[in-house]
Symmetry: C2
């Protein structure tokens, strides 16, 4: 699971100046986090709709809403009608891309993750066709009503290039090998509830983690921004200003219900 | 506000058969509904993120998440960085399209509305540039933090073709004139709350409407599926099966808070 993350490039300020966050007072071990490939596969697992870009007859790029499923190696599956412009487009030209965004509509969606997968569209055959069909009907149950119609066809999108954007200034190209091999974070569905619970009921544990393990012994408060199988993202408030930090779990969480015991272990360690 | 709606084309069934819904027992006047252009402009007003399709250097169509605002005639405004692939794409080739989907993640999103607007991207100048900038910063307040960075540029998307899809089998091409002139439904933000309230507390009024005004005197129950400035979409349960129908308000609702009095008038009329 090695990762050669692109260092976030800085935007070049015109008139604006943004003060940097206060640095940690104690150097801590870098907490592990999901690779870009794992981020991409987690996004793919977390939703079943995306935006397809295809090429229209007038050679304009055409953006449309599609439901999708994914095969085990992250190959997206579509079921589209030739009544839809994108269905006719794929018949004519296999070049396409699929964008999948973090399914959050509150707050600032541009600050959240998304993935663009450029691909060649192909009709699956034989055993793969049956796997694709089953995956699609499992992901989009409503498709059982229209899958038998003869104007609908299954497509698989063979990945050619994968780009992940994590929010403002976080982005990376993911190799096709890393994409195919990476696993979706099994805790993604439990994470929003865990974040809300930690902030509502365990503010004391969060500030202990930030002080003892996050490099900010001067933390006054700490808010949990995100949680995943590898650890917790915090924003700490200090007398020197606000700063982001991260604390890592002792071990990667493999159980969808494993965030709670891992967090309890982390709080114990912070207080040891 | 005339509308030459495309009659929904039927999918051609292979093996599947879908029984048609039971017809109304009483012929009623066709209830007015939003034109496709009004649907498109309402979608545009209801959200501030969409999927941009642009052309990459390798001539693949590239799908990416963008925030947008709209000028008064429905011209979308983007603020994009050349650090983003789509920003570099627009610099190279102005052909693009923007897809905006109904901001609903529950249920079956493919059953809800979306809009694709194919356009040429241009840098606005002079007075339009200032209008575009103000509109974008009002729609995406977070952009105040990055708008001053020199790698960000404003773009307007000059509409060339507008396609609206209302869900399965409901779709229409919208003329550019109708698109530019149409108004977003001012009641869209209040509509989800009104639907929930009607179903929770006024099931009796809904069934009265379906019986007296919707053509289904044999309605046993009626559920409100949607409400808009022109009327109410219902699904009625009858001894003959379930059917969709629609009841129209006496007058178009122009006030964002006007759904309640219009609905009360409709219920009174149903009981008269």
């Amino acid at each position: 699971m090695s990762e050669t993350a692109t260092a976030p490039r800085d935007h070049v300020a015109g008139d604006a100046t943004m003060p940097p966050p206060p640095p940690p007072l104690v150097q801590t071990e870098r907490a592990p986090r999901r690779s870009s490939a794992e981020e991409a596969r987690t996004l793919l697992a977390a939703t079943d709709v995306g935006a397809l870009a295809s090429l229209s007859a007038d050679s304009y790029p055409w953006s449309s809403l599609v439901g999708f499923a994914a095969l085990g190696d992250g190959t997206p599956v579509l079921l589209v009608s030739t009544m839809a412009e994108h269905g006719r487009n794929l018949e004519r030209d296999p070049r396409a891309s699929l964008m999948v965004a973090h399914p959050v509509r509150e707050l600032d969606q541009l600050a959240h993750g998304r993935l663009t997968l450029a691909a060649r569209a192909e009709r699956p055959e034989g055993e793969e066709q049956e796997r694709a069909r089953k995956a699609f009907l499992a992901a989009i149950p409503a498709a059982n009503a229209y899958e038998p119609f003869v104007d609908f066809s299954l497509w698989v999108l063979r990945p050619e290039r994968v780009r992940w954007v994590g929010g403002y200034g976080r982005m990376n190209t993911v190799t096709l090998e890393a994409y195919a091999e990476a696993e979706a974070d099994p805790t993604y569905a439990a994470a929003p509830g865990a974040v809300a619970h930690l902030n509502a009921d365990h503010a004391d544990a969060l500030v202990d983690m930030a002080r003892a393990l996050g490099g900010y012994p001067d933390a006054l408060t700490a808010r949990c921004d995100a949680i995943d199988r590898y650890g917790i993202d915090l924003t700490v408030e200090t007398p020197r200003g606000h700063a982001p930090t991260r604390v890592g779990f002792a071990e990667r969480v493999d159980d969808p219900d494993g965030l709670r015991p891992a967090t309890i272990e982390l709080a114990r360690r912070a207080r040891a």
